[in-house]
Amino acid sequence: MRNKKKRRQYAFVIRQLTAREMKRKYARSYLGILWSVLNPLLSMAVLSLIFSRMFQKSIDNFPIYYLTGYILWQMFTGATVSSMTALTDNKQLLLKVKFPMEIFIVTRVYTAVINLIYSMAAYAIMLALFGVKLKGTVLWFPVILAFLVLFSLGMSCILAVGYVFFGDLKHLYTVALTLWMYCSGIFYPAQQLEGFIRTVVFYNPIYVYIRCLRKTVMYGQIPAAGEFVQMALWGGGICLAGWLVFQKNRNRIMERL
C-alpha cells in the first residue's frame, strides 16, 4: 500500500518535471512545441535535397528512409545528452528532496520520448503524403521503441554518473556521437557497406533498432528472430548495467556533488 502510494507520487513528480523541461525548452519561442514537429520535417527536407538523387537506385523512398532513422536517433541523443547533466543540474534539489536520484534521469528520457511522440505527427503526415501503405507489422513500433527507451535509459545512467566524476565526458561524448551517427545508417544505404565497417554498423544497436523500424513500417516485414534477440539484449543489458553503475556509486555521487 505504502509502495503504491510512493510510486504514484514518483509518477506525479516525473510528470511535473517533464512539463517543466518541455516548457523551458520552448520558453522563448513563438512556435513553441510546434518545433518538435517542424524540426524533423526541415531536417528531412535538407537531407532529401542533397542525397535523394544520389541514392535513387538503392533507396526507393529516401525521405521516409531518412526520417525513420532520424526520429529514433533524435530520441536517443536527446535522452542521453540531456541526461548526462541531469544530476549536476539538479544538485541543489537532490540535497533537499527525498526522492531517488534516478527520477531526474527518468525525467530527461521521458521528455525525449514525449518529443518523439510529437515528431511522430510529422512522421505520420509524411507517411501519408508519400503514400506508404502501412501493414499490421506497424504494431511492432511500440515494441521497438520500448527496447530503445531501455537502451537509452541505461546509457543515460552511465553517462550521468560518469559526468559527475569527469566533466570532460561531455566533450568526448559529442565526438563519439558524431562517429556513432555515421555508423548508424541514417542517411545512406547501409546494405551496400562492405568489410569491417559493415560489421561495425550491423552490430551497432542503434542501427538494429532503426533497421527493424524501417522493416516494419516501410516494407511490411517483421523483425527476424536474431534482430529481436539483439534488440532485447541490448535494451535489457544496458539498462541493467546503468542501474548497477548507479547503485554502486550512489553514495559517492552525493559526496561529489
Binding site: 510528470r15 540535497l95 527525498k98
Partner: protein
C-alpha cells in the same frame, strides 16, 4: 525515542587536487598518486530526541550542524554509526525547491508541491488556500520571472507550510520571509507548526531563536557534541565561547 543518532561519523573524501577531468585523472593515475584527504565533518556524534521534544542544534558556521540534518533526513549516508528514525515520518522543510522562473506561479506551485511530496489531489484541494496565504491573488498566471523576490519567497513559504504538520519536522534555520506584515504571519505559522505536538529538530546559529522555541539544545562544534541539555545553559555556554551575544 523518536530519533536516535548513534555514534555517527561523517567523512568526506577530498581529492588533494580536485580531479574533474579525464585528462588529469589519467595523468594522476600514471604518476601513481591519487591520494585523498579525509575531511571529517562529524566525529562520533550521538544524541537522542524524544517524542514531542523541540530540540535546537547550535554551532558556528561549518561546525557540521547542517550535515547532521542531512544524515537524519536521509540525503547522506554516514561513514560510521547509524541513525534510528522512521524516514517516512521525517519532513525537512524547504522553501521553493525547484522553482523555475520560466513557469507561471500556478505551475510552480504544482512542481514544487510534487517535489516536496504532495499528491495532486492534495494540491488541487489546497490551491486556493496557498494563493490566499501568499497574497498572490491575480498573479498566479504570470511567470515567476516577473515576480519580486518577496513574492517568490511568499509563494515558496505558503506551499511549504500548507501541509498538516508532520510527525517529525526538521528546520534548517527558522524561516521568516517577506515584508514586515508577512513576516509576522509566517513566524506565527512556523510557531504553530513547532508547537503543534510534533517532534521538532531545528538548526540555527542564533541563540535567541533557540531560546524562544526549544525545550532542549545541543551544541555542536568542529563536528563534535560540545554540550547537550537545558536550553538556557547550553546557549549561555555557546555565547561565552563565541564572545558575543548573537
Amino acid at each position: 525515542m523518536e530519533i536516535e543518532v548513534q555514534d555517527v561519523t561523517m567523512q568526506f573524501k577530498k581529492a588533494k587536487e580536485e580531479v574533474f577531468s579525464l585528462k588529469e585523472a589519467v595523468i594522476q593515475k600514471l604518476k601513481g598518486r591519487r591520494s585523498y584527504e579525509l575531511f571529517t565533518a562529524l566525529s562520533n556524534v550521538s544524541f537522542c530526541v524524544a517524542r514531542g521534544e523541540v530540540v535546537g542544534i547550535i554551532g558556528t558556521n561549518g561546525s557540521g550542524k547542517s550535515t547532521v540534518l542531512k544524515i537524519i533526513s536521509g540525503a547522506l549516508l554516514p561513514t560510521k554509526g547509524r541513525v534510528l528514525v522512521d524516514r517516512d515520518k521525517v519532513q525537512l522543510l524547504t522553501l521553493g525547491a525547484g522553482f523555475d522562473p520560466e513557469l507561471t506561479g500556478k505551475e510552480n506551485v504544482y512542481l514544487n508541491g510534487a517535489l516536496i511530496g504532495y499528491t495532486k489531489e492534495f494540491l488541487d484541494e489546497k490551491y486556493e488556500e496557498i494563493v490566499r496565504f501568499a497574497q498572490l491573488e491575480g498573479f498566479m498566471e504570470e511567470k515567476v520571472r516577473k515576480y519580486s523576490s518577496g513574492m517568490v519567497s511568499r509563494l515558496g513559504f505558503a506551499v511549504a507550510t500548507i501541509r498538516d504538520t508532520p510527525e517529525i519536522l526538521i528546520l534548517d534555520e527558522v524561516l521568516s520571509v517577506g515584508d514586515m506584515f508577512f513576516r509576522e504571519k509566517s513566524e506565527k505559522r512556523i510557531r504553530s507548526m513547532i508547537h503543534g505536538g510534533s517532534t521538532v529538530l531545528m538548526v540555527s546559529h542564533s541563540t535567541s531563536v533557540i531560546r524562544k522555541n526549544c525545550t532542549k539544545a545541543i551544541w555542536i562544534e568542529k563536528g563534535r557534541v560540545q554540550m547537550e541539555g537545558d536550553t538556557d545553559q547550553v546557549c549561555k555556554a555557546y555565547e561565552s565561547m563565541a564572545g558575543v551575544k548573537v
